[in-house]
């Protein structure tokens, strides 16, 4: 019957976002009763190495919310063409249009709201699907009522959606929450963007939200202005449902700088709107040709993929624990426990698109073989690109060989592994093993390829790609490859146990020597 369209990203937009959003997602699902109903969450511009926002809080969502939710992931690479034109990291019009284009065509209604709203049908037991199903065509709004920050934070149980709606029925009376704030037409109510029910067909006819509005604010008012023209009237649904907003002004959100807030022009986008249509985006709104990844919380989850991948690559441990060491005298020992390290390696790649092409240059053939198996098991469809210069004969359906110079231009992601080519899977780890000649040769080759990849990343990107590619280093903590890797890559300090560092290439490679000189210069200055 209806598609709810909301958007956001995996960041910290305002106070206690995780709780607000979980309360809201669960409450929205609670008032759905038609199997076609859906919550379309557009996860806009979350960094590639992070999960989407709903995935990050999936454990706090009800089964019903997980079943109704479809996550549409807009990658940073898909946003980059707009980056220079806006200070915002998540764009409302683009997000809402991407979802509209991909909404369930069987649904008659689109409901635009936000990730901090609870909708309470006035007749207990009635669902929003039933309410919308009985409505004649039109454009409907409801007034927004505020919930004091303390109330939702302290009293709501995220997973008890029905209980939260019942609490609101009580609080609305006890605490006089229900105050309608009227507004100039065509807005009808204040904060109108928290409930705008529009026919899907109408939204297609008017070409969606105005995608030139990239400075934040007033996208909802612009839609109201255009729909009020198109339909002639803005109707209320106040007799059927109340909408409650989890107030979150303790901490200002990124788009709220008080009097200094940058906004879309009120005059241009409301008071000088002259048509419901936006002919200049008639063919392009919602990015019809863009490949937008869709993720679910009720099937093929990241965890399920992770488990499937690793089960292809490693067997369960047969001992209660294993050992390694960061004692100084072991600094030059490059052995590591592959079975322990692989789960941390897979963790680095799981959030990338399934079509990703990853270039893997390593010293250990068993590392490449097991990683390739895990890669396939995790459902990746892109290839594992192994440069012929590495000289390791590894056979796997995911692996594609080739010249490093060619593969550089095809890769979306890089992985460099600095282990001992002579190490076997059951060899002891960190017991003072020295490199052999074969190890040294192999390490030199991988180091050379790494330096080339990192220092030429900007010039070798696949055609059309604008965002920098990430480099993952394996066995680069507390050994001689830590300075090598961090000279080129802006990586965090990670625990030794994980063995893995990752980041994007630094604008200018910095050698440790230079760092020391700079430090002395600073002291002298």
């Amino acid at each position: 019957m209806f598609s709810v369209i909301i958007y956001g990203r995996n960041d910290t937009h305002g106070y206690n976002l995780h709780k607000r959003a979980a309360i809201s997602f669960n409450a929205l699902a609670e008032v759905m009763s038609d199997p076609d109903d859906e919550i379309l969450f557009v996860d806009y511009n979350t960094p590639d190495d992070h999960p989407t926002f709903p995935e990050a809080i999936a454990d706090t969502l009800t089964d019903k919310a997980r079943q109704h939710m479809r996550i549409l992931r807009v990658r940073p690479e898909q946003h980059v063409h707009l980056k220079s034109r806006t200070h915002l990291v998540a764009l409302e019009s683009q997000s809402r249009n991407v979802a509209l284009r991909r909404s369930n065509p069987r649904n008659r209604w689109i409901l635009y709201t936000n990730t901090d709203m609870l909708l309470v049908p006035r007749t207990e037991g009635e669902s929003l699907s039933e309410i919308l199903g009985a409505l004649p065509d039109g454009f409907y709004q409801i007034p927004r009522f505020e919930i004091p920050e303390m109330l939702w934070e302290a009293a709501f149980d995220r997973k008890d959606a029905a209980g939260n709606l019942a609490k609101l029925r009580d609080w609305s009376v006890r605490f006089h929450l229900n105050q309608v704030v009227h507004n100039f037409m065509p807005m009808k109510y204040d904060a109108l963007g928290d409930f705008q029910a529009v026919l899907r067909e109408d939204m297609f006819a008017v070409h969606g939200f105005d995608e030139s509005m990239i400075l934040g604010w007033h996208c909802d008012s612009n839609l109201a202005a255009r729909m009020a023209l198109y339909r002639g009237r803005v109707d209320t649904l106040m007799d059927k449902a109340f909408g409650y907003h989890c107030d979150h002004t303790r901490v200002a959100a990124a788009n709220n700088k008080g009097r200094k807030t940058t906004m879309n022009s009120h005059d241009k986008y409301i008071w000088n709107v002259s048509s419901p249509y936006i002919p200049e985006q008639a063919e392009t709104w919602g990015w019809p040709d863009a490949r937008i990844e869709e993720l679910r919380l009720d099937r093929d989850t990241a965890y399920e993929r992770y488990v499937a991948g690793l089960s292809q690559a490693i067997e369960p441990a047969t001992v209660p624990f294993t050992n390694t060491s960061v004692e100084w005298h072991l600094f030059d020992d490059l052995t590591y426990d592959l079975r322990h390290t692989l789960p941390f390696v897979c963790d680095q790649v799981l959030t990338y698109p399934k079509s990703t092409s990853i270039l893997v240059a390593g010293c250990r053939a068993d590392f490449i073989r097991r990683f390739a198996a895990a890669w396939r098991g995790m459902g990746f469809t892109g290839p594992v690109l192994v440069p012929q210069e590495v000289g390791l004969a590894v056979d796997d359906p995911a692996i594609r060989g080739g010249r490093f110079g060619d593969l550089l231009k095809r890769a979306d992601l890089f992985m460099f592994e600095f282990g001992l080519t002579t190490q076997k899977i059951d060899d002891p780890v960190r017991v003072g093993r020295e490199e052999t000649l074969a190890d040294r040769r192999q390490l030199k080759t991988v180091e050379r390829l790494f330096r080339r990849a990192a220092s030429t990343e900007g010039e070798t990107r696949p055609k059309g790609r604008q965002t920098p590619r990430r480099l993952i280093g394996i066995n680069v903590i507390f050994n001689k490859y830590w300075p090598v890797f961090t000279d080129y890559v802006g990586a965090n300090i990670n625990p030794f146990c994980a063995q893995v560092l990752a980041g994007i290439p630094l604008a200018e490679p910095v050698t440790m020597k230079e760092k020391v000189i700079l430090k002395f210069k600073k002291k002298a200055g």
Binding site: P136, G138, F184, E201, T236, N272, S274
Partner: protein
């Protein structure tokens, strides 16, 4: 246009003004039920905003007595009853208002959106006029008022509103198209063509503007030029608007093109009898067989289905056609195309279809 309703109600909080400038409501004693009903509605809204909810209910009661189909008054009375805590009593009014709005037949889906608006729009006109007191550099309230006036059948006043909007947003293609619609509705077809052409210069593929100009051309007797615009409109209309595409094809008398679009339109809106009626028309014009005709229950256009089913005569159908529009529809289904062209407004689908049929 009456400004007193919302403007003064907005200022009602200012004590002095509230006492000094008590608004009057022209038409409140008018014997014409329409004028009196609308005046009562305006006073009811004023009282509502001033906190006199019970008095407002009385005004809405009276307005509804005078004009039982006054959906806006029912919606406002519902809101008042709801505010007073009588949610149960409010519910039938909310529902009835929606039913009344939905029951109004809207304009053809290939025409400008302004022809598809339902209701008296009294509330909207007053609200936008209130906005105009604060918004001096915005064209929006002017054009919105103009659209509401068009829906009321007052194109001359609408034209003035659009011209005010154009003073603020000079040469805006959308406003020029609205001006064209107003001129066309006033019978000033040559000026309408000029306005539409100016609009199309900026946005050449605007389907509704092409439709507006086509209608104006057809009214000027230039069916050839009209057909060119309708062809361009058909090419510009997206696949997901089968009803609009069907209407354009019908105007062109392109029955074979209309048929699949009508079938898709029926799939989307199975309750709309007109798509089924036009489908029968197209099948008949194409000499194709059709299933036994089911006559829908209720009033118009059921007699037209009865005609196709062989259950009604030309005389009974024409007798049932109690308005000008229905008479045109009846004559068209009777294939009396010459008469259709003589009496139909040029904006009707039947007018263009008959012109094109006669031209073959």
């Amino acid at each position: 246009m009456a400004k007193q309703g919302f403007l003064k109600s907005a200022l009602a909080g200012v004590g002095l003004l509230r006492k000094a400038n008590a608004p009057d409501f022209p038409g409140i004693d008018d014997p014409d039920p329409e004028r009196q009903g609308q005046a009562l509605f305006r006073r009811g809204r004023y009282r509502m905003r001033a906190g006199g909810i019970e008095a407002a209910v009385k005004d809405f009661d009276r307005a509804i007595e005078l004009l039982p189909d006054y959906a806006e008054a029912r919606a406002s009375r519902a809101e008042c009853l709801d505010m007073l805590g009588h949610a149960e009593a409010a519910r039938p009014d909310y529902a009835e208002a929606r039913r009344l709005w939905a029951a109004e037949r809207t304009g053809a889906p290939d025409r400008s959106y302004i022809w598809r608006q339902q209701g008296r729009l009294t509330f909207e006109i007053e609200s936008y006029e209130l906005a105009l007191e604060r918004i001096k550099t915005g064209s929006y309230p002017h054009s919105a008022v103009g659209n509401a006036l068009m829906a009321h059948g007052r194109p001359a006043e609408a034209l003035k509103a659009y011209e005010r909007a154009l003073k603020i947003k000079d040469k805006d293609p959308a406003l020029l198209a609205l001006k064209g619609e107003a001129l066309s509705a006033m019978g000033r077809y040559r000026s309408a063509v000029d306005a539409f052409s100016a609009s199309l210069k900026a946005v050449p593929r605007a389907p509704e503007v092409l439709s507006g100009r086509a209608v104006a051309y057809a009214a000027l007797g230039r069916i050839d030029k009209a057909n060119v615009d309708w062809r361009r409109q058909l090419a510009a209309l997206p696949e997901h608007q089968p009803a609009a595409r069907a209407c354009v094809a019908l105007r062109l008398g392109a029955w074979a093109e209309a048929l699949p679009e009508l079938e898709r339109a029926i799939g989307k809106s199975p309750d709309d009898p007109y798509w089924r009626l036009y489908r029968l028309t197209a099948l008949k014009r194409l000499d194709r067989p059709f299933d036994p005709v089911e006559v829908p229950p209720g009033g118009w256009p059921a007699p037209l289905f009865a005609l196709h089913a062989g259950k009604a005569t030309a005389e009974t159908v024409l007798a049932a056609a109690t308005t000008e529009g229905r008479r045109v529809e009846a004559l068209f289904q009777l294939e009396r195309f010459k008469e259709v062209v003589e009496i139909a407004p040029p904006s009707m689908i039947e007018y263009a279809a008959a012109r094109n049929q006669l031209g073959r």
